[in-house]
């Protein structure tokens, strides 16, 4: 008897082998409305690309299979949440890690929603049907991520009062302006292909593995399996996005007229690698500080994912096609490997009275680990924590100067590596339309000077307070940002930490 044919399998094989045909017909001339109404010229790409047949979706994914794979991912994630709820797992997660989750979810949920918004544009206005289809899957992915982050907050909010104000925190909380500025910037690209560069290339090849793969290993090591499963599930979609980024980059760089395209592509590459470095460097505090059980240092994760994967890996393929290393690569490496996570953590502690999540000084065990991973740790921030240990509250009164591009308080000092902590920094300023703008770095200044109109109108929180548009009174400012009494502060001074230590049979 002949072998029984699995008809479904045979159908999938047919579709795979004829993938081009399943997307080719997505391009048609509209008849009920004009083409300009469907896709206004200002929304379409201005890149002079001649041949879109070079673009090919490496996964050749068709909708039926997309739905099947995503449904499986959802089942696993929702099972993880159900089990965690049923067995009260949240109570057994280290409160240090939980403090980090308060910061994490409001920032990432909104960011994913903005990424969804961005891909609506590419999917609709893409000049290539195969790219439109891949982008369509991606916009569904981003929506899934946003919804799952919100769903995780629903699970957490019974334990963590702070998350009930997540939307207001995203709008007004000081540190959230860093994420909000980045993701609103990303949702309003100058060209549909700038979106591919900032999301699929610079972000998803360069940085999301730090956040969605390295950080989940730390989550798992501290008992947070919901976080670990959710973020690895998120990143499993990003792998498809990365393949889309690679394929798009290749299609663009293999055009006969690539020299015409290169200056724009290189600028996007330089700009977004810097933007993401500045913002996603925050991942460092999850690995180096929030996690009590540590898996990788930020420096190690950065080497593994950014250097090995992005610089020595994927970009190596594109150098022969004319793409040069990102302009601020030396500054990026210097900051990430020496002081980025430490300065962010110190800053977060210095403003712990204005935070909704807790921070805390590193313990002796943390310090030993930090010194091993970062030989210059004492020079960078060790002196500060020594002061805190000797009774200095370590906080800073009054808001800091904030970078007019990235919205990060100006604490970095890439041009002065020998004295990263002496309180001085090389402040960059630019005059534009009668106003002085301040920048934390050459990278941020460079971007502003290329596109001043895009960034000149935003005001930092410090500027809003000085202008009287945000409250100058600390209690009122906390309220404006979405904070309630008792939120934030030093975790080690709170009952929840003492209870945790007791539950673990450890001394306070």
């Amino acid at each position: 008897m002949a072998k029984k044919v699995d008809f479904r399998e045979a159908t999938l094989r047919q579709l795979y082998e004829n993938y081009g045909l399943t997307t080719a017909d997505l391009e048609w001339e509209p008849t009920y409305v004009s083409k300009d109404e469907v896709s206004p010229p200002e929304r379409r790409t201005r890149l002079p690309v001649k041949d879109w047949s070079k673009f090919e979706d490496p996964f050749k994914l068709f909708f039926e299979d997309y739905v099947r794979v995503q449904a499986e991912k959802e089942t696993v994630f929702h099972d993880a949440i159900r089990l965690a709820e049923r067995f009260g797992e949240a109570r057994r997660i280290n409160p240090r890690w939980v403090a980090g989750m308060k910061l994490y979810y409001p920032a990432v949920a909104q960011s994913e929603a903005e990424a969804h918004r961005g891909h609506l544009g590419l999917s609709r206005h893409s000049p290539s049907p195969a790219l439109a289809m891949a982008s369509f899957y991606q916009l569904l992915d981003e929506l899934r991520h946003a919804q799952n982050d919100v769903h995780a907050m629903r699970y957490w909010v019974r334990y963590l009062d702070e998350l009930k104000n997540w939307a207001q925190l995203y709008q007004n909380f000081w540190a959230m302006q860093v994420f909000r500025s980045l993701f609103e910037d990303m949702a309003t690209p100058s060209d549909p292909f700038e979106l591919v560069f900032h999301t699929n290339v610079a972000l998803e090849m360069g940085y999301t593995n730090l956040l969605f793969v390295a950080a989940p290993t730390a989550g798992a090591a501290n008992g947070d399996r919901v976080f670990a499963q959710l973020q690895m599930s998120t990143q499993s979609d990003e792998t498809r996005h990365i393949a889309l980024g690679q394929a798009t980059l290749r299609a663009l760089l293999e055009q006969e007229n690539r020299d015409e395209l290169l200056p724009t592509l290189q600028y996007w590459f330089d700009k977004w690698t810097w933007r993401h470095h500045r913002v996603f460097g925050v991942t460092g505090i999850f690995l180096d500080y929030f996690a009590e059980n540590k898996t990788l240092s930020y420096k190690e994760a950065f080497k593994k994912y950014f250097i090995e994967g992005y610089i020595q890996g994927l970009l190596e393929d594109f150098e022969p096609l004319g793409l040069k290393p990102p302009r601020f690569l030396d500054d990026i490496i210097k900051e990430a490997e020496n002081y980025q996570s430490h300065q962010v953590w110190k800053l977060a502690f210095q403003y712990n009275y204005l935070n909704f999540f807790e921070t805390f000084p590193p313990t002796e065990k943390d310090k030993a680990w930090l010194r091993e991973k970062y030989p210059n740790w004492d020079q960078v921030v060790g002196w500060y924590w020594e002061q805190v240990e000797h009774g200095d509250p370590g906080i800073v009164q009054g808001l800091p100067l904030i970078c007019n591009l990235c919205q990060f308080p100006i604490v970095y000092n890439p041009n002065d590596p020998d004295h990263p902590t002496n309180g001085s920094f090389h402040l960059r300023t630019t005059r534009y339309n009668g106003r002085t703008y301040y920048f934390c770095s050459d990278g941020c200044q460079y971007i502003f000077e290329h596109e001043p109109e895009k960034y000149a109108h935003a005001k930092t929180l410090t500027e809003l307070v000085i202008e009287g548009r945000a409250p100058a009174d600390v209690e009122k400012l906390r309220e404006y940002m979405g904070l309630e009494p008792g939120w934030g502060g030093n975790l080690f001074e709170k009952p929840i930490w003492k209870e945790w230590l007791a539950s673990q049979g450890r001394e306070g």
Partner: protein
């Protein structure tokens, strides 16, 4: 761009499928190395070789049928270029130079 070419790398959510895929890759590429982290399994092969995931070998390791497209449900990260993602094998390589 740089002097060192990084390994081809596939990072999978840990579990029996990840382990089966790792063993299947190692059978075809003895230079493959495995790293484990909480919840994560990483397969590396040298940059001048290729990583081949052969469906039949994975099925032998698992002892049941396996649809290679299900790799997408556990794939957390990859470094390389997917040269082939057919129903019978997936191949990860860097681009030709």
């Amino acid at each position: 761009m740089t002097e060192v070419r990084s390994d081809l790398r596939l990072e999978l959510m840990a579990g029996e499928e990840a382990e089966a895929i790792a063993r299947a890759v190692q059978e075809l590429n003895p230079e493959a190395k495995i790293e484990e982290y909480p919840g994560l399994l990483i397969i590396r092969v040298p940059s001048n070789t290729r990583m081949v995931i052969d469906r039949v070998r994975v099925e032998e390791e698992l002892g049941r049928p396996y649809n290679l497209r299900d790799i997408q449900t556990i794939m957390a990260a990859f470094y390389g270029y997917w040269k082939e993602t057919s129903p019978d094998r997936w191949v990860l390589e860097w681009m030709e130079r």
